[in-house]
Amino acid sequence: MTISLEDRGVGPGLEPERVIEVRDLHMQYGRLEAVRGLDLHVLRGEVFAFLGPNGAGKTTTVEILEGFRRRTSGHVSVLGDDPQLAGPSWRARIGVVLQESAPERDLTVAECLRLYAGYYPAPRGVAETLALVGLADRAGSTASRLSGGQRRRLDVALALIGDPELVFLDEPTTGFDPSARRAAWDMVAGLRTLGVTVFLTTHYMEEAERLADRVAVVVQGRIVAEGTPGSLAGRDRAAVEIRFSLPEGASPEDLPASVRCAVVGRDGERLLVRTASTVSALGPLVRWAEDRGVDLPDLEVRRPSLEDVYLALTVPEQVAVTAPEPTRVP
C-alpha cells in the first residue's frame, strides 16, 4: 500500500517532504538515558508505525515530537518547526490522540467537539468529523457514557476537529475487541485518503502490518530496524520454514535429498525444514508423498511474520551471567 509521489503533492524529481525529521536525539532523566541517538523521519501522507517494547523510549520520543517534553540534545523538526519552541499556529496543524485521556465530563459528544473546534482557527465541521469516525448517531450522547471503542473514536474526532496535517495516534486500539479493532483500522485507513500523515504507536504487529507504509523499531533508545512492514529486517529475503509430520513408517532418510539436506530440526512432532527456495524443497517433498500415496495433512509453509521479526529484534538475547561486583576492600 504505497502512495505515489503525485499523491503526496510532490513534483517529479523532488524528494517527498519530511514532515518529521529527527537526528541524533538524546533524552536523559537523571542518570537514565531513555533515548540515545535516535534518528527517524516521516514523509508527508504516509502512515508511520513506531514499534518497541515498554521502556524502549517510545513514549519519551513521541512526547518530544508532540512538544510535551524538552529534549536533552539532538535535532527535531516537526512540520518545519522545533516542537519545544513552536506556538499555537504549529499546534493548530497537529492532532494528538493520547494513550489515555478521559472524555470531557458532563458534555455531550457534539459539545466536546464544539468546545475543541473553538480552539482552532479553521476547524473541520462537527457533523463531518463525527461522520469520519463513525459517531454521527451518538452526537447527543453524554461523552462519558460511550463504550470503550466509541470513546476512542471520540478521542480521534477531537484530534481531527482542527483539520490537522499530522496526527499522532498513541496505541489507538489497546484493549479493543477484534471487531472494534477492525473498525478503528478502517478509520485510520480513512485518514490516509484525507492525506493526513499519521504517526502511529502500537504494540500490535497485525495493526502495523495492515496500516503502516513504513515501520521503525526502537530498542533501548535507538532505532534498530526500519522499513516497510513486508521487508523489515530482511523479512522478505529470510528463509522459508516448512513443517510437516513424517507419514507412518517413513524415516527422515527416506526423504528426497533436497529436503533431507534442509532439515534443521524438529518443532514438536514435526520436522522443521528451512530453505531459501520454497519450490526446490516443496516440489520434491510433494512428489515424494504422491509417489508413496500418502498425505501430509499438517504441512505448513511460512515466512517469518512481522511479529517473529519484531521479537527477534526486541527480546534481549541471553545475557551471559556477569561476574558479581567485586567486593570493595577497605
Partner: protein, 271 residues
C-alpha cells in the same frame, strides 16, 4: 511570534479573552449538569444555613454596631462556605481529575492558550459563587427576615468576586501538590473544616476563645467571612468595604497564584 498573530488573524489578548469565554460556557454547562457539584456547591450550603440558623435561632450575636439574630449572622457565614465550595473545593476536585485523566494534556496539545483555560474555569467559579450567594440571600430574607442590603450591595458583590478569585488561585496552588484525584476531596475538606469552625462560619467568632481567633486571623477564611459580614450587617455605616480583610484575602490569592504558576502541571502526576 508575529507569524502566529498573523496566521490566527487576531490579537493575542483578545483571542485569549474570547477563548476564555468559550471555555467558560462549556465549563459552566458541565458544572451545572454535574450531580456532585450540584450537591456540594448549591445544596450543601443551603442545608447548612437551614440547620445552623434553626438550631441557634433564639440567640443574639454581638456584631460591630449592635446585635443581630444568630440566624441572620449565619447568612454571610454560610456564604463564605458556599464561595469556598464553588471556587476552591470544586476547582481542586475537578482540575485534579482533569489533569490525572489526561483531559488537560489533550487540551494543551491544541492551540488554545493556557490562560484561556485557567481563566474560563475561574470565571465559572465566580458565576457559581454569585449563584450560591443569591440563593443564600433569598433564603435568609424569606425564612429569617434578613434584609438584603441595598446600600452595601456593591461591596458585597466585590467581596464575593475577590473571595472567589483568591480561592480559585489557592485551588490551583493546592491541585499542583495533590498527586491523584482520590486525594482531592479529603484534602480540601481536611484543610477547610477546621478553618470553618474557627473562622466564624459554623460558630460566631464572639463565642470563640481569643487565641483561636488569633490563629484564624492568619488564614483567609476568617477574613473572607469578616468582609462578608461587614458588607451584610445592617448596622454597617458607609459602603461596607472591609478593605483590610479584602487585602489579606487577595494577598493569599496572590501567593497561591505564584505557587500555581511555578508548579501547575498539565500532564498527570500520578501513576
Amino acid at each position: 511570534m508575529t507569524t502566529t498573530a498573523v496566521q490566527l488573524g487576531e490579537h493575542k489578548a483578545s483571542r485569549t479573552a474570547r477563548l476564555a469565554l468559550h471555555q467558560f460556557s462549556y465549563d459552566l454547562r458541565a458544572l451545572v449538569r454535574n450531580r456532585q457539584s450540584q450537591f456540594f456547591t448549591l445544596a450543601l450550603p443551603i442545608l447548612f444555613l437551614l440547620i445552623f440558623a434553626s438550631v441557634f435561632s433564639g440567640n443574639d450575636v454581638k456584631v460591630s454596631g449592635g446585635r443581630l439574630s444568630a440566624s441572620v449572622v449565619y447568612v454571610p457565614g454560610i456564604m463564605t462556605l458556599g464561595i469556598i465550595s464553588a471556587s476552591f473545593v470544586n476547582l481542586v476536585i475537578s482540575v485534579t481529575a482533569q489533569r490525572e485523566s489526561g483531559v488537560l494534556k489533550r487540551r494543551r496539545a491544541t492551540p488554545v492558550p493556557a490562560a484561556a483555560i485557567i481563566a474560563g474555569r475561574a470565571l465559572t467559579a465566580v458565576v457559581a459563587a454569585l449563584g450560591v450567594t443569591v440563593a443564600l440571600l433569598a433564603i435568609g430574607w424569606a425564612a429569617y427576615g434578613a434584609s438584603i442590603p441595598a446600600r452595601t450591595a456593591p461591596a458585597l458583590a466585590v467581596t464575593v468576586v475577590v473571595g472567589t478569585v483568591a480561592f480559585c488561585c489557592l485551588g490551583y496552588a493546592l491541585t499542583s501538590v495533590i498527586r491523584n484525584e482520590d486525594a482531592a476531596q479529603p484534602v480540601t475538606q481536611a484543610l477547610m473544616l477546621p478553618l470553618y469552625f474557627i473562622s466564624g462560619v459554623f460558630v460566631p467568632v464572639s463565642s470563640l476563645p481569643s487565641w483561636l481567633v488569633n490563629v484564624a486571623d492568619v488564614f483567609p477564611v476568617r477574613h473572607l467571612a469578616a468582609a462578608l459580614l461587614v458588607a451584610y450587617n445592617p448596622h454597617t455605616t458607609g459602603s461596607g468595604f472591609a478593605g483590610w480583610d479584602l487585602l489579606i484575602v487577595a494577598a493569599w490569592g496572590g501567593a497561591g497564584l505564584v505557587l500555581a504558576v511555578r508548579r501547575f502541571s498539565w500532564v498527570p502526576l500520578g501513576h
